[in-house]
Amino acid sequence: MATTTPIEIGKQSGCSASSCGSTADQMSHLPAHIRERVFNHPCYSEQAHHHFARMHVAVAPACNIQCNYCNRKYDCANESRPGVVSEVLHPEQAVKKVLAVAAAIPQMTVVGIAGPGDPLANPERTFATFRGIAEYAPDIKLCVSTNGLSLPQHIDELSRHNIDHVTITINTLDEEIGAEIYPWVFWNHKRVRGRAAARILIEQQQRGLEMLTERGVLVKVNSVMIPGVNDAHLKEVSRVVKSKGAFLHNVMPLIAEPEHGTYYGIMEQRSPSAQELQALQDACAGDMNMMRHCRQCRADAVGLLGEDRGAEFTLDKIEAMEFDYEEIRARRAAVQASIAAEMNKPKVQVATVSLASLRRRAAAMPPVLMAVASNGGNVVNQHFGHATEFLVYEASANGVRFVGTRRTDQYCVGSDHCDEGEDTLARTISALEGCRAVLCARIGITPWEALEAAGIKPDSDHAMEPIEEAVAALYAAMAEAGELTAAPAAGASVA
């Protein structure tokens, strides 16, 4: 079934900037056979997500549980940004849309079903969609994200459809914590509440996880970090799911804006700050491969991560399309093989700077975070003012590693961080809290001054350079200039 050439991820010898960075950091702990299966999966491999596209089809509106971070007027908060409702498709429409997208975007390797409710609470619609895709586009990988409640009963059907990736949202292993997150589940024809509900859900999730890994299905676990509720417990979740064979853990921040009308939003449960999220991801990373590049994309997202081409594929537009499946499949194979070949090329060592030479001054080189404005291709290539998200890297004497993304609209941690009157620039700057520098292709004088005032060094000297090298070079320059010794003033604010 593999139509692209598997590449030898993590086998680059030596320590090029990029093998010390995100890719190796995330993938190197994985056994080779898993690396081969995820190398072109944009959701699972940070490197792949720059090159391969995915789409979600919104065929599954119903849900069988209630989460306190979800408002069923909107999409499932499991994998989607609440507040935008996906247009629900019938399975036939979904298959048609997949074929249209796969024709227009030959880089597409993966189709997932992630709601807007729970795919396995909509088994007929979900499996009809998978059957249709497998018939016309057998090269496309299928995956599914679920709350896990009805996972055990659908395991055989899932295996039959050759779905090799499943994401389960597991927020806790403890029924007391569970009762704080889930007000009810629908089970055996009854609505069950409280701890009994949490116990059923947790049992089903854990059984589902075990059954999937026994069958060789790759399982990723998503967890929503809810400060004061499950944050201290998620390290344990990470450890246990790893011991049961999950291959990747994605700790995502709670999104709880009051206007989304969720329980947490209305009850003013705060979201974690970017730094708290990163600290927890780091704490879990000792035990587990952590996923850092999740964008919590919509249940109908289309295209490369970070872009959304959904508008090009509305129902009226795809209705009229005709396809030559064979020809389109061949084109996908060719395009994807050439991307794989490109990714597999040995990285040219651009010896911009040797961090090793600075290591003797390691005492003066504390690890710092740097943000990068990029619209893809692993290059510093975006105008500061156009960035809706920043990639965050940690630079230290040991190298550069990818630690996550910051969306400029995401980390509003209550009123002291983003009150009504705060403008876009100030919001962007608060999203960059904790970063010492920001690299971008260009930047205006006003944001330049505001960043400096907030203790964040703006830099456009490394425009169009590969990200990890640019970050390393700026870090080395800041070390040389003695700019790294003092930590930024706590709570540095925009004057």
Partner: protein, 86 residues
């Protein structure tokens, strides 16, 4: 004997496949229950299936217009709090 779906329904589809009487169908602007077919699940289940999975408070009412899932019963959000938000 029949339940009724009212304007609060968000068309989430959860109820439709569960109805033992095939009384529920998708419609505009919201799902409907065919009163001639609905048995209130009597003889099939102890609880009305549609009302037991519906995630939206007050979307399903009985013949007297009383919601089977009154305000605050599904989300745990205190009704006063919701009312205060308008």
């Amino acid at each position: 004997m029949a339940l009724k779906i009212v304007a609060a329904c968000v068309n989430c589809w959860a109820c439709e496949p569960l109805c033992p009487s095939q009384a529920i169908s998708a419609a505009v602007p919201h799902f409907v229950i065919d009163a001639k077919k609905c048995t209130e699940c009597d003889g099939d289940y102890a609880d009305a299936q549609c009302a037991s999975i519906c995630p939206i408070e007050c979307a399903i009412v009985d013949a007297a217009g009383v919601p089977l899932n009154p305000p605050g019963s599904l989300t745990n959000i205190p009704p006063e709090r919701l009312a205060a938000l308008g």
